[in-house]
């Protein structure tokens, strides 16, 4: 089967072997050595992964701008490139050329390290999440757990950036952010437990294969609601964007960041949004698999898995944009109350439901079929 790593390995090994054929023996032996080829192949693999994920992130921003524009009775970006496709690249270039200024009292290490760490911790997610068969770096048996751990680094870096920029707005925003993310980690993890109970595995690839018969959103609808709400809070999007509530806290924890540092935060936010959509698709919407009634021709062309996966991802993100366009922002205390008093019980209930499905091997709509709830 074609995997991304084999493609990357071929990309580097074929030209190197060709060059080595024209070189004297000791040099060519050194060049076409398996260790070197593997290391270079891994690097190319990373480059492809990074490039693909960054382009996707930027497309996500474009998608949001266009869709928000339509919701708001305007057109969104439309001048740079076809339908404004290149607008975000231009914006990125602009931000890249801008001066970054550090306030006098800001802590040097924290101020520069926090955006970088935030960005890196978000990007690492792409190496963990399997977009399609053969896409992931390696089959990790606990990839779901690893993904959630990496995903929950963010409050730490946000708080670090807020604390080190020596600004009261940033500090308030950072505190809110930390409180909010910690409050919503719990229901997210509990909702994931329901998925794990149903699939019997912490491996994302296995979880997707378990969904070949039926997608998990049907038995775990409650968990899906909790997970989506929690993801909205983790992504800090409306209605839960109060750490950067622009009405009262200017820009919240990234008030003091400008130029490329701001671009890092902004981009990492969308990386996290993309990752959140990935997780929803992987855990509840069947990943890259399609239900049996879809004709085989639609699922068997090259890269069909990636195509369906990305389509689902963008649809999920479209729902998030829709939510953003139509809901106001909640208040901190209301957010925390909803998190602890509504989301946590709901997610506990969804675990109970998942256990019931596993024990009875029956589903509400589909009925009792063998293969349900069996790990």
């Amino acid at each position: 089967m074609l995997s991304l790593y084999s493609v990357a390995y071929d990309l580097i090994s074929i030209p190197l072997t060709a060059i080595a054929a024209h070189l004297p023996a000791p040099l060519s032996a050194w060049l076409v050595n398996t260790t070197l080829l593997n290391v270079l192949g891994a690097l190319v693999f990373c480059a492809i992964l990074l490039g693909a994920s960054m382009i996707n992130t930027i497309m996500l921003i474009w998608f949001e701008r266009k869709m928000l524009g339509r919701f708001m009775d305007r057109r969104g970006a439309m001048h740079v490139g076809f339908a404004g496709l290149l607008q975000n690249f231009a914006d990125g270039l602009k931000l890249f050329r801008k001066n970054t200024r550090r306030p006098k009292d800001a802590d040097f290490v924290g101020f520069y390290a926090a955006p970088t760490a935030y960005m890196v911790s978000s990007l690492v997610m792409f190496a963990i999440l399997p977009v399609s068969t053969g896409w992931s770096a390696g089959a990790l048996p606990l990839s779901l757990l690893l993904a959630l751990v990496v995903f929950s680094f963010a409050p730490l870096f946000i708080f670090l950036s807020a604390w080190s920029s020596a600004n009261k707005y940033s500090l308030l925003g950072g505190m809110r952010s930390a409180a909010q993310m910690i409050a919503y980690e719990v229901p997210i993890l509990l909702a994931v437990v329901a998925v794990v109970v149903l699939s019997g595995s912490f491996d994302l690839t296995t979880i997707v294969y378990e969904q070949q018969n039926y997608w998990f959103w049907a038995p775990l609808f409650l968990a899906l609601i909790v997970f989506v709400a929690g993801m909205l809070a983790e992504m800090e999007r409306i209605p839960f964007d109060l750490p950067e509530a622009e009405a009262e806290l200017v820009e919240g924890w990234n008030t003091e960041f400008g130029g490329m540092l701001f671009a890092f935060f902004m981009l990492a936010d969308y990386v996290r949004a993309l990752v959140g959509c990935f997780l929803i698709v992987l855990l509840f919407l069947g990943g890259w698999t399609m239900p049996g009634w879809v004709p085989a021709s639609a699922t068997s062309f090259p890269l069909a898995g990636i195509f369906w996966f990305m389509l689902k991802t963008y649809l999920v993100f479209g729902v998030f944009i829709w939510i953003r366009a139509s809901l106001p922002r909640v208040r901190t205390d209301q957010l925390l109350r909803v998190g602890w008093m509504r989301m946590v019980p709901l997610s506990l209930l969804s675990i109970v439901l998942a256990v019931a499905v596993v024990l009875t091997k029956c589903l509400p709509v589909i009925g009792c079929v063998p293969g349900i709830g069996g790990g």
Partner: protein
């Protein structure tokens, strides 16, 4: 965390203008506030003492840049009283129509700013879009979109262009339809009610004590509207209701303004019918020469003549979109007003800020101050 002061302003998304709300917070709770004004003080009252009577109108548009017509009207009423000028009836109706369109435009601006304060992005653009249509209408008969210089001592500058009333009626129908959409976007949302119910409460007695007027007062159950209580221009000849709410919170102010816009449309429709049926002059024919011919550009040489005209005092009160606005004008027989004093409703409403902000959350400040509808231009003048 102990208490600390933070500055919300002078450049802050909440302020909608240029002022500074110093907020003392304990965690997320507001314990004290202090408003600092004056960032937009242009000395309009002083400059007026150095301008001819019709030239002050230009300044009035800058007084409140989202309610220029209302402020022109306020000044014109005081000036006409001080100068003993009578106005043709058609001009009165045109003024009423202009002021009501301005009220809708101002409330739409408020709506856009307010929903953005609570994080609603879409209605912000809807409000701005529909306000722009009103500005287009203003442009068609005054030439200006925000600063009109349209009213004159003794009438208004010019009559409506042909076909104006039909266009205005069409716009009224469009706006009435849009108001339903606005209500759906806000009132149907649970989060909106969670954010806006029972915050920024200022009861009727406290409103009167602290001089708070306008929608804030009416949201506390007081049926006070100068258009009804002390009618000016042609307001005694049009039918409309004064909306009243009892809750005195942010939602109540929202409902008041929404209903006011509907009532304004109702007034506009009546004035349009009247204007269609009664053609006539729009400016007093026998104006003293130093007030300028109706179409003369402001600043023509006629002003420079020495004049010998009776002294007078003018006092006027109008229901501006934000509340009760007063003007007091002293005419000492000179070419310029001797003294003009304007009382802005927002000035009084902000002065009571401690009464309706302290005790709520920091996150409540934007909706509360948004519901006050602040226009710093008329506070600082």
């Amino acid at each position: 965390m102990s208490e600390m002061w933070i500055n919300m302003g002078p450049q802050h998304p909440m302020t909608h203008g240029l002022w500074n709300l110093r907020v003392k917070i304990d965690g997320e709770i507001v314990v004290d506030v202090d408003a600092e004004m004056g960032y937009l003080h242009r000395g309009i009252e002083k400059i007026s003492e150095d301008r001819h009577y019709n030239e002050v109108i230009t300044l009035m548009d800058r007084c409140c840049y989202v309610a220029g017509m209302a402020w022109e009207h306020l000044y014109i009423l005081a000036a006409e009283e001080a100068l003993h000028v009578t106005v043709p009836e058609r001009a009165l109706y045109i003024r009423v129509m202009s002021e009501e369109f301005q009220r809708v435009a101002s409330h739409l601006m408020w709506y856009a700013a307010f929903v953005q304060d609570i994080g609603l992005l879409t209605p912000f653009l809807y409000g701005m879009r529909d306000r722009d249509l009103i500005l287009d209408l203003f442009q068609s008969y005054t030439g200006g979109r925000m600063t009109y210089e349209y009213m004159r001592v003794g009438g208004v500058r010019n009559d409506m262009p042909p076909g104006f009333t039909d266009r205005a009626r069409k716009l009224c129908t469009w706006l009435i339809d849009r108001f339903k959409e606005y209500d759906t976007l806000c009132l149907a949302s649970t989060i909106f009610h969670k954010r806006c119910d029972n915050i920024g409460v200022l009861k009727a007695a406290a409103c009167r004590k602290h001089g708070v007027t306008g929608p804030m007062l009416r949201s506390a159950g007081v049926k006070a509207d100068i258009r009804k209580d002390r009618p000016y221009a042609a307001y005694d000849r049009v039918e409309f209701d004064v909306p009243v709410q009892q809750d005195a919170d942010v939602t109540a102010r929202y409902l008041i303004r929404m209903e006011e816009m509907r009532q304004s449309i109702r007034i506009i429709r009546q004035t349009l019918d009247w204007l269609d049926a009664h053609p006539g002059p729009v400016i007093a024919p026998q104006l003293p020469r130093w007030l300028g011919a109706p179409y003369a550009p402001i600043g023509n040489e006629g002003y420079l003549l020495k004049r010998n005209y009776p002294h007078g005092l003018g006092f006027s009160a109008i229901e501006e979109p934000h509340g009760e606005a007063l003007a007091y004008l002293v005419n000492d027989g000179g070419e310029h007003p001797y003294r003009v004093k304007f009382k802005s409703p927002v000035f009084a409403n902000i002065s009571a800020v401690r009464e309706y902000v302290v005790g709520y959350h920091v996150a409540d400040i934007p909706p509360i101050m948004g519901s006050v509808d602040i226009c710093v231009g008329e506070v600082d003048r």
